[in-house]
Amino acid sequence: MKITCTINGKTYSNDVETRLLLIHYLREVAQLTGSHVGCETSLCGACTVEVNGKAVKSCTMFAVQADGAKITTIEGLASNGTLHPLQEAFWNEHGLQCGFCTPGMIMASKQILERYPNPTEDEIRHGLAGNVCRCTGYQHIVNALKAAAAGARK
């Protein structure tokens, strides 16, 4: 089936099998390998991207369901070489170690801050419940979200 979508501002048109998962479309067809596969069963959040403004686990969606959609992946977050404030905050606060969960974490965090511009620790932690990180113990990720939120308020 032919689909057309916009990823990070660029238009993609491809013939895809109907069973192709969106994450595999992004990684293998569009060759945007920043979003990762940690489980393929919607339990880890490593594949989180933004579809039409909402954070979505891209392993739970078929590529054909994204026909006509506007998608943002981690690769599309920085603009003209300037990091997104969340990327900057993850970096400053040491919110990552191996980095495998990080693209999904940052995309999920973006949605949390859109919902809660001034989030409590509890809101951050519950907002991140769908994203597993095995390295950091989450504390520095929590700090990163707090720092990004504080930066946005300035």
Binding site: R19, T33, C101
Partner: protein, 777 residues
């Protein structure tokens, strides 16, 4: 701290909370993990695995799979019989090592055992075809519990060893019989450390590429030990080691689970040769649960002998280690680390340990964060609490009484170690102050009166790090570094360690920047490609900085000498100093910058006497000893009387990892370690049923900690430098995990102590606690 040379102030970078230099590629999604590698005409492999824990393979029908769209090859164990066995690198007297084929031959031994492999044009086609492979099995009786496996009449995992004993090990230190004969009190407890699943976020994965004309294999694999994988896979495949190139791109977490050589690594190398095309295999999460090593798997029987005043006289320990169906790389070595660590940081000189390794029809156990030391620490720290309860002595006081004293270092333990340095009371006192221990006990007493279940748990741990001196390790315990100062003065460090989240691209740059008086931005750290980096051991056992960093340090000292020599020639002086990034003539004050000196070293117009051109040094540093970090963790927990749920109200960690190169990174290591410790204490468990089926084989059933499950960690430190290496560092990768679980369990046992509870085995699930509460009430 600053050094002033030629009027230039250079601020020391070691000790600074620098943000990491490896992060830009990771936060922008531009890093390359194995699954991100795409090669021309690359094929995909899917593996057919056994659904039975024990069965004879009667037949395998592959025709339907072969005819499936996109399939180019299907292989079974018959095809791969000539590939060497999956290696066990550890040795013990009398160790029984079953031959471990890369694909099962005739019989399967655990659920997930690879039986056949399908290679196709894309991963969907490969999986479709794998589903068409028909394997006819004759199921056999299985055994999944180590104690049941050792009982008479148990089903034999390997028919040639009907008792299921994989190995035994005995160690005696001091005079344990005398200690027990003289004891006023002996406390005994069976303590388990349950099987765990390491669950790195990136599953394993391999891409293999064969260049037939050169007989050269390129193997991209997600590993902690690229060079050892190269040596061992070359052996398995009968290839020349120097024609196998192992490339470790970004690695998405390991925690010991990638400190191994797996069947799939050799299998993909073999397939690439057969099909003459590159091939990729990426482990699914389900496979990761079933077929990547598990951790822990101990049943421990402890006896502690003591005097009435709380002085510990001796310890007896019997470990039953759940081995699984095979030995992976280090399987039998792991419980011997528990024995080494069994006295903890207490001065008792009398120990007796016995290990029995039991084969079971399960995935092999091996190194998982802490590898043997969390089990030992959990055991001794639980036993000390049980003793304190028996004698009605405060748990902090009984620890202080038994600590190795500051003037006893270096301290020879009953298990044959020499603790390098320590001040064990310091972190305990600091942690007690932080929680305001006296007041806290009072609050606990008040809360109890109101019917609340509040507990305080203390764990004072020690660990064996910087693993380790070569004679004590299966594969060499040194580490290597090459430092190159390029003609421009820029510095490239090639480390034999293989960091995968630990941040050495930053910490090694900090070390080099200080030694050479340059900026971290002038330093590049390279690792993980056996054709670029000199032979190395890898990253595990909290060794990266303590051993790998020390190798870097010594290479830098060589270069500093050479820089001075070249600088002296340029300055036409024999009295020069190198500092702050310049060689300075001590007489005239004239100076030459590092780039100027480096350029002259390569231009080689005039060489210093007996000096070769260039500025490169390679060092292999052999540590004279392990290092021994330590610390205190205190947990305050509250139990929900209705649900049995444990809530951690405070977590205080005071860790001493020696000198601190980057405290920001250290905090991250501590947090992550504690998360895995809390995971074990409260939620995680690899559960096999009696038939050897893994019940907790998905993220739905296996409870890894998520953000909302974790408490805030208050992290503090003391600093006791290690005398083992010139950096004074000890290592911190595993400390959090090792210190954590007994602190959590001690707090919960303390909370429930009014019910007469003395011990609970992990994980402390709400169900388990609820049952205790309902029985007690």
């Amino acid at each position: 701290m600053a050094t002033t040379i030629a009027g230039v102030e250079k601020e020391k970078l070691v000790g600074k909370r620098l943000r990491r230099r490896e992060d830009p590629r990771l936060i922008t999604g531009t890093a390359t993990y194995v699954d991100d590698i795409h090669l021309e005409d690359m094929q995909y492999a899917a593996i057919v695995r056994s659904p039975h824990a024990a069965a004879r393979i009667l037949s395998i029908e592959i025709a339907a799979a072969q005819n499936s769209p996109g399939v180019i090859a299907v292989f079974t164990g018959k095809d791969t019989e000539k590939v060497g066995g999956v290696p066990c690198g550890a040795s013990l007297p009398g160790l029984r090592v079953p031959h471990h084929n890369v694909l099962a031959v005739g019989r399967v031994y655990f659920v997930g055992h690879p039986v056949a492999v399908v290679v196709a044009k894309d991963r969907y086609m490969a999986q479709d075809a794998a589903d068409l492979v028909e394997v006819n099995y004759e199921p056999l009786p299985a055994v999944a519990d180590p104690e049941k496996a050792l009982a008479p009449g148990a089903a034999p995992v390997h028919p040639e060893w009907p008792d299921n004993v994989a190995f035994t090990f005995h160690q005696d230190g001091g005079d344990v019989d005398k200690a027990f004969a003289e004891a006023d009190v002996v406390v005994k407890q069976r303590i388990t450390s349950q099987r765990l699943i390491p669950m790195a976020m990136e599953t394993r994965g391999v891409v293999a590429e064969w260049h037939g004309a050169d007989r050269q294999l390129n193997l991209y694999t997600s590993t902690q030990i690229p060079h050892l994988v190269r040596t061992l896979v070359a052996t398995m495949l009968g290839l020349d080691e120097n024609r196998v190139r192992v490339i470790t791109p970004e690695v998405g977490g390991g925690f010991g689970s990638k400190l191994n050589v797996y069947a799939e690594e050799a299998l993909m190398g073999w397939i690439a040769q057969k099909i003459q095309k590159p091939v990729k295999w990426i482990e699914t999460r389900r496979e990761n649960f079933l077929c990547t090593i598990h951790g822990r798997g101990h049943v421990d029987y402890y006896e502690l002998a003591a005097k009435r005043d709380g002085t510990i006289l001796g310890i007896k320990l019997k470990i039953i280690q759940d081995v699984g169906a095979y030995h992976q790389l280090l399987t039998p070595a792991i419980p011997t680390l528990s024995v080494l660590m069994m006295p903890g940081i207490y001065k008792t000189q009398n120990i007796r340990a016995d290990i029995v390794g039991a084969f079971t029809n399960c995935m092999p156990t091996d190194a998982y964060r802490g590898a043997g030391r969390p089990e030992a620490t959990h055991g001794i720290e639980r036993m000390v609490d049980i003793l304190a309860d028996e004698l009605q002595i405060d748990p902090a006081e009984i620890r202080l009484k038994n600590f190795v004293a500051n003037d006893q270092f270096p301290f020879h333990t009953a298990t044959g170690l020499m603790y390098d340095s320590g001040n064990y009371a310091a972190p305990l006192k600091k942690a007690l102050d932080l929680v305001d221990y006296g007041k806290l006990r009072q609050e606990q007493a008040d809360a109890r009166k109101q019917g609340k279940w509040i507990g305080i748990g203390i764990s004072t741990y020690g660990e064996i790090c910087a693993i380790g001196p070569s004679p004590a390790t299966p594969a060499g315990g040194w580490e290597s570094a090459t430092v190159k100062i390029e003609p421009s003065g820029k510095v490239t460090i090639m480390t034999g360690a293989c960091p995968h989240g630990q941040g050495e691209e930053t910490t090694f740059a900090q070390i080099a920047a200080d030694e050479l008086g340059i900026s971290v931005d002038d330093v590049l750290v390279v690792r993980g490609d056996t054709s670029i980096v000199q032979y190395g051991i890898g990253t595990f056992g909290s060794r990266g900085t303590a051993i790998g960093g020390t190798a870097v340090y010594f290479a830098l000292q060589d270069l500093k000498e050479k820089i001075k020599k070249f600088g002296a020639v340029l300055l036409e002086s024999d009295d020069v100093t190198f500092s702050g990034g310049n060689v300075v003539c001590n007489k005239t004050g004239q100076s030459k910058s590092l780039p100027e000196v480096a350029a002259s070293a390569y231009r080689a117009m005039k060489l210093p006497p007996n000096t070769e051109p260039g500025l490169v040094s390679t060092r292999f540093w052999e540590p004279p000893n392990f290092t021994f970090p330590f610390g205190t963790h205190i947990v305050v927990s509250e139990i929900d009387g209705q649900t049995g749920e444990v809530k951690i109200r405070r977590y205080v960690a005071v860790d001493d990892c020696g000198n601190r190169i980057n405290p920001l990174i250290i905090d991250g290591q501590v947090h992550g370690g504690i998360a895995q410790g809390i995971g074990q204490a409260l939620w995680e468990q690899a559960v096999y049923d009696d038939n050897g089926q893994l019940l907790s084989g998905e993220l739905t059933d296996y409870a890894v900690p998520r953000a909302h499950m974790m408490p805030w960690i208050e992290s503090e430190h003391t600093t006791t430098p290690s005398p083992v290496n010139p950096l004074g560092v000890k290592g911190v990768g595993e400390a959090g995990t090792i210190g954590c679980s007994p602190a959590v369990v001690n707090s919960v046992v303390d909370a429930l102590s009014p019910l007469g509870v003395r011990h609970i085995d992990m994980p402390l699930t709400p169900e388990k606690i609820w049952h205790i509460l309902s029985k007690g009430a």
